[in-house]
Amino acid sequence: MTSPLFSQVFKNMENFTPYSALIGGVLIGSSAALLLVLNGRIAGISGITREILPPWNNAVTWRLCFLAGLIVAPLLYQLFGGHIVVQLNNPSLWLMAVSGLLVGYGTSLGSGCTSGHSVCGLARLSARSFAATLTFMFTAVLTVYIARHVIHLGV
């Protein structure tokens, strides 16, 4: 017997995967901790990616190696029996282009994305990362609300 409030809050219980999410999070945190202790670098994916683009004024090689690791990881995961689902409800390429532009320009102007601000920055107790995390989480929730429930974009 579940209460109405319980079923209201946990409408999507069948998709709730806290254990795999927790293990994945520990892996992401471990990667960030290792990159810091071994190379003295913040595992900020947007910053690492931006610095491989011209004009070059920073080391490029280690960044390319990190990104290569990111790219081969799903293949390794599948090789060892892992199952990957990538579902895009609205497959519009225009939507992807607008989203990509906003993510690329926004993370550059805002000095980081989820990894740099929310995984590394919050751990360093950075006030900037705290403000950035609140801002992008809030705007993402707002965007999904408008896209799904107001203008019915089909995302």
């Binding site: 999070g25 892996l27 290792l34 990509g100 993510v103 550059s108 590394c120 965007t143």
Partner: protein, 137 residues
């Protein structure tokens, strides 16, 4: 050489985390943001797991005199919460909410042969490059 190998290894571990946690699935991400609809809170646990590791280790690591393979740490020095930070984060959040893709998972997904991901990454690189040339100019 060592620092390139360690970066490669860290990239693999990060990418595996993105796969295991299902952050690589844009639908999963958008369901997490859909707090007024069919909310799926799973991805909060990604943050909890990641911060459990970095929250404990970061403090210990930066007490070292230097990292293992480099002469010194490269840490951000800015401390002021300024307009570019907040505007940039707001633009990023809007883009993330439109597709469910953020840079790490999207780059990992490049190996899966999905046209939408190629377009997203091309546009993301264009946005980053635009910022760089506007800043130089």
């Amino acid at each position: 050489m060592s620092k390139n190998l360690s970066a490669l290894f860290c990239g693999v571990v990060f990418g595996l985390g993105v796969c295991v946690s299902q952050m690589i699935n844009p639908q999963k991400v958008l369901d997490f943001f859909d707090m007024f609809g069919a909310w799926d809170g799973s991805l909060a646990w990604v943050m909890i797991g990641a911060l459990a590791v970095t929250g404990v280790t970061t403090r210990l690591i930066v007490q070292r005199t230097k990292p293992v393979f480099e002469p010194n740490f490269h840490l951000p020095t800015a401390s002021c919460i300024d307009k570019p930070l907040l505007v940039g984060a707001a633009l990023f959040g809007t883009g993330w909410g439109l597709s469910g893709l953020c840079p790490g998972p999207a780059i990992s997904a490049l190996s899966l042969g999905i046209p939408q991901v190629y377009v997203f990454i091309a546009a993301m690189l264009a946005g980053m490059w635009l910022f760089k040339i506007l800043k130089v100019g």
